[in-house]
Amino acid sequence: MENIYLPNVVEIAKVREETQDTKTFAVKFREQEQWQAFRHRPGQFVEVSVFGVGEAPFCVASRRDGSETFEITVRRTGAVTEALHGLGPGAHLGIRGPLGNGFPIEAVKGRDILFVGGGIGLPPLRPLIWEVLANRSEFGRVTVLYGARTPADLVYKDELEQWRGREDMEFMVTVDVADEHWTGNVGVVGSLFSKAQIEAKKTAAFVCGPPIMIRFAMRDLLTLGLGEESIYTTLERHMRCGVGKCNHCLIGDKYVCTDGPVFSYREIKMMMEPG
């Protein structure tokens, strides 16, 4: 019987500063066999252990490609994230996963794809964005809308520039509060909907961000005419065990960790305690 609570030992390979409070960690398995078995898909998550501090869930923020590492992007906000931020290359972590259902990529092939990311909600979308771009001909129009509190809070700045430069996709960014150098959009991410070309009936949307942003973005997309089953998000809960045992992430009878974390708007609407 597999031990569902026993993490594999991994090593931090690289650390990249994203913002003042956010870092991206590239993580490498010690055992090649374990890396081969770690078949992560966009939208899945891992339970990360900093031994001595504890365990916390993070989305896998990178797409599976030729690399020997995967990435998590972590904002410093609690005990485990604080400890993670203090670690550098060579430090050991524990990993359980990949966990959760992931995004339904097959179901949206052939459609226009709209990504809506708010703040630290871009990391879960990032592997899916790259997955869609890697199979670009299988999708219609691709649009990425990204909002952050301030220009200093934008993550993956190099990749944002790549997306801005591509002709096979549309990329727009906005901030809630500008600084003196900012010449772009100011406003919540929903304010970009009217500027983007969205053909509601052809579009599948993937929305990630803080709960309040998700709520408003979903409402706006429904108003634009997107179908309830064409809007997906990842729900956030404190998934302590990640395998449907500890019950902390329950919403009604749905386990965010095993039934999700990706849900369609229709599924969320049926849940007993949305929020």
């Binding site: 019987m1 597999e2 031990n3 569902i4 609570y5 026993l6 993490p7 030992v9 010690r30 252990s49 031994f51 001595g52 501090v53 504890g54 365990e55 916390a56 906000t77 609690g78 005990a79 485990v80 994230t81 050991h92 524990g94 803080p210 709960p211 956030e236 809960r237 404190h238 302590r240 065990c241 395998v243 449907g244 045992k245 500890c246 019950n247 902390h248 992430c249 329950l250 919403i251 009604g252 009878d253 007993m272 305690e273 929020g275």
Partner: protein, 349 residues
């Protein structure tokens, strides 16, 4: 109707059988504790077993799913920098003279932890555990197992089931594991005479007629909770009476919420699993400060949805209550299962 094989052991001989049981396994049985309470605990001698007890203060779950349970140990002194090893418990256990509701509680935990993906810590202990029930001829004043299909006599699920008769204990055999324990008793146990089996059946009929004080209106509660028909105001009223002590969860044979925490030492440490309660304010709190169940009303609603709804009863084979009555004694706010189902049925306090 299928009848299990049955043996009889004369009352004066039962201690000799128990002495044989303690030779082969860690025997956990009702024992007298301070203040007149009875609790299930490890016994080393037959005379420690409190045969005539009503019910144990706490259920059996702490032996299979301990309140603080080491899951793994890590060490940073290994040659490759970090080694992580699981902690194993291979103790052979016999639960002796435990109440049918508590056996039903264990069978419920079997389904919770046996659901995919399987929880090896629980299952490995459980595989090494034998269940010897003691039927209830005189249910306690808080008991309502008869409403929950969990007693006062069990139809199945035990390895052995004992019934106290006038001069003997009748021993019904429910499994091969049970048969082996009968064999261990050798000549102390003999095949039961038909008259003893009839006496047991009569006792069961009498026992079912003795439930009076507490009832649990599961049928109405299950329907209303399943279809979200409980007035929100009712949860609010219950919330005002909840002290968030967690007592209901900790004494409940079917509650299994847990969290894990690390105990670091200098070059090593231990990760332990700890019981949690879904009524605690911090239960769903996230590192960002966002709390999706900040209102106590919502936590009570979630608790009883988990215990009573068809959505959970279906995958778990049963609703999450065995009628042991412990929450009746534990809850100072009157939010026990019996009272809550009554309020839900009547739609008011």
């Amino acid at each position: 109707m299928h009848r299990p094989p049955a043996y009889a052991v004369p009352k004066p001989s039962i201690s000799a059988w128990v002495e044989r049981l303690v030779q082969v396994a860690t025997v956990i049985a009702p024992t007298a504790a301070h203040g007149g309470d009875v609790v299930y605990d490890v016994v080393e001698r037959a005379e420690q077993v409190a045969w005539g007890y009503e019910s144990s203060l706490t259920p059996l779950k702490r032996f299979l799913f301990p309140q603080v349970d080491p899951l793994l140990r890590w060490s940073t002194t290994s040659s490759d920098g970090l080694a992580v090893e699981p902690v194993a418990d291979e103790t052979e256990r016999i639960f002796l003279a435990v109440r049918p509701c508590d056996i039903a509680g264990v069978l419920f935990l079997d389904r919770v932890f046996g659901r995919d993906p399987e929880d090896g810590y629980y299952l490995s202990r459980r595989q090494r555990t034998a269940l010897i029930a003691l039927t209830c001829a005189r249910p306690g004043e808080n008991c309502f197992c008869v409403c929950a299909d969990a007693g006062p006599f069990l139809q199945a699920g035990y390895d052995l089931q004992l019934t106290e008769l006038e001069n003997d204990y009748l021993v019904e055999v429910g499994s091969e594991k049970g048969a082996a324990l009968v064999e261990l008793g050798g000549p102390l146990l003999a095949p039961a005479a038909e008259a003893l089996r009839e006496a047991r059946a009569e006792l069961e009929r009498e026992a079912e007629g003795r439930f009076q004080e507490h009832k649990s209106y599961f049928a109405a509660a299950l329907r209303k909770v399943t279809f979200d028909q409980v007035p929100e105001g009712l949860w609010e009223e219950m919330a005002e009476r909840c002290l968030e002590c967690g007592g209901c969860a900790f004494v409940c044979p079917t509650c299994t919420c847990f969290l894990t925490a690390d105990w670091p030492a200098e070059d090593s440490g231990e990760r332990r699993r700890l019981w949690d309660s879904c009524l605690y304010e911090s239960y769903a709190l996230e590192a960002s400060g966002h709390n999706p169940r900040a209102a106590r009303r919502d936590r009570l609603k979630a608790r009883f949805f988990h215990k009573l709804s068809y959505q959970f009863a279906k995958p778990l084979g049963q609703h999450g209550c065995v009628g042991c009555g412990r929450c009746v004694a534990a809850c100072m706010g009157g939010n026990d299962m019996s009272a809550v189902t009554a309020r839900i049925r009547h739609g008011a306090m």
